[in-house]
């Protein structure tokens, strides 16, 4: 795979992998975790607010969290791209990597679908059930994305393009 070799030989990729600086690989990992907290943390709080049995939490003001969550998303898109650049072969040879991306994409779509529903508490039972179902699905999608992300460190088959014979 010439493109993987070329990516791994690029200056930025080598720096990310080999630099002893804390701003290289460790710093990018930190940003990826910070973005996780900014995006998934508030999304989890929104889901839990919708699942509150007594429905005492008015959902409308929770829309104010969307800019923060999107900032977290973009921090993770950028830091994730750098992590991919550091070890492209390791990622693309692992099916779990693509499964994680699919779960994140699906969770982000849910987040956007949920936004118009963050209005006054639903008066009727079908609306309430629908919102509860969406909140539970969103929680499950993020749990899956976190699980797959963590497993990436343990399930890869090939680290570098030079290992691909």
């Amino acid at each position: 795979m010439p493109i993987l070799l070329w990516l791994e030989d690029s200056g930025l990729s080598v720096w990310l992998r080999e630099s002893p600086s804390l701003f290289a690989f460790p710093g990018v990992l930190f940003l990826h975790t910070l973005g996780l907290a900014m995006l998934v943390g508030p999304n989890v709080a929104i889901n839990l607010a919708l699942l509150d049995r007594k429905e005492r939490i008015p959902p409308e003001p929770l829309r104010g969290l969307y800019p923060l969550m999107w900032s977290g998303f973009w921090i993770n898109a950028a830091s994730g791209a750098l992590l991919l650049l550091a070890y492209p072969t390791k990622a693309v040879t692992n099916p779990l990597f693509f499964a994680k991306l699919a779960l994140v994409a699906y969770a982000m779509m849910y987040l956007q679908w949920l936004k118009p529903m963050l209005r006054d508490l639903p008066a009727n039972a079908p609306d309430r059930r629908r919102r509860h179902r969406m909140a539970v699905t969103s929680l499950a999608l993020w749990a899956g994305a976190i699980l797959f992300g963590r497993l990436l460190a343990y399930t890869y088959s090939t680290l570098m393009a030079t290992d691909l014979v």
């Binding site: 804390l22 460790p26 990992l29 930190f30 975790t33 910070l34 996780l36 907290a37 998934v40 943390g41 508030p42 999304n43 989890v44 709080a45 839990l48 607010a49 509150d52 007594k54 005492r56 939490i57 008015p58 409308e60 003001p61 929770l62 104010g64 969290l65 923060l68 993020w142 749990a143 976190i146 699980l147 992300g149 963590r150 497993l151 460190a153 343990y154």
Partner: protein
């Protein structure tokens, strides 16, 4: 306690059941890491949203209403504490002699002091309000400190791997 006694104690942790579980059972370590991260988003999500509310965001929700989420934040913290204790027991010297761990533990200690002060002095006042009036300055300071300390804990936690002894000596 002399240093040899400390080391003997650390060594003895490695023979405990939680340490065995996390090192001997296949996939136990990554599963516990996953639970640690799920705990992280539960805790930072719930606590962070409450902090943002105290700082003046999310107007229209009363402090008491938002505070109903707190049990989930506590679930997250307990998840992190339990899995974190398992990691520590499995490789005590990797943490005890790790500068990143010292920073993380110190930040967690300050977090505990901050949360105690918050519930002693700020929360009772906020609970009496309707959420419309701005929180007192000292309450806003505690909320800001809470957010900063969570960032430090996440950052230092991420650095643990890179400060593993004896590589950094």
């Amino acid at each position: 306690m002399s240093m040899t006694e400390v080391d003997a104690f650390l060594q003895s942790l490695m023979t405990t059941a939680p340490a065995h579980l996390v090192t001997q059972v296949a996939w136990a370590w990554p599963i516990c890491e996953t639970l640690h991260f799920i705990g992280l988003v539960l805790m930072t999500g719930v606590v962070g949203v409450i902090d943002l509310h105290v700082l003046g965001g999310l107007r229209g929700i009363g402090f008491n209403a938002l505070h109903r989420l707190l049990p989930w934040g506590i679930v997250g913290f307990v998840l992190c504490l339990t899995t974190g204790a398992m990691f520590f027991a499995a490789a005590p010297e990797q943490y005890f002699y790790n500068q990143a761990f010292h920073i993380k533990a110190t930040a967690l200690l300050f977090m505990g002091l901050n949360v105690t002060a918050f519930y002693l002095w700020a929360a009772p006042r906020l609970a009496r309000g309707d959420g419309a009036a701005p929180a007192p300055a000292f309450a806003r300071f505690m909320a800001l400190l809470s957010l900063l300390l969570m960032v430090v804990v996440i950052g230092a936690g991420r650095m643990l791997t890179f400060f593993r002894p004896p590589f950094n000596w």
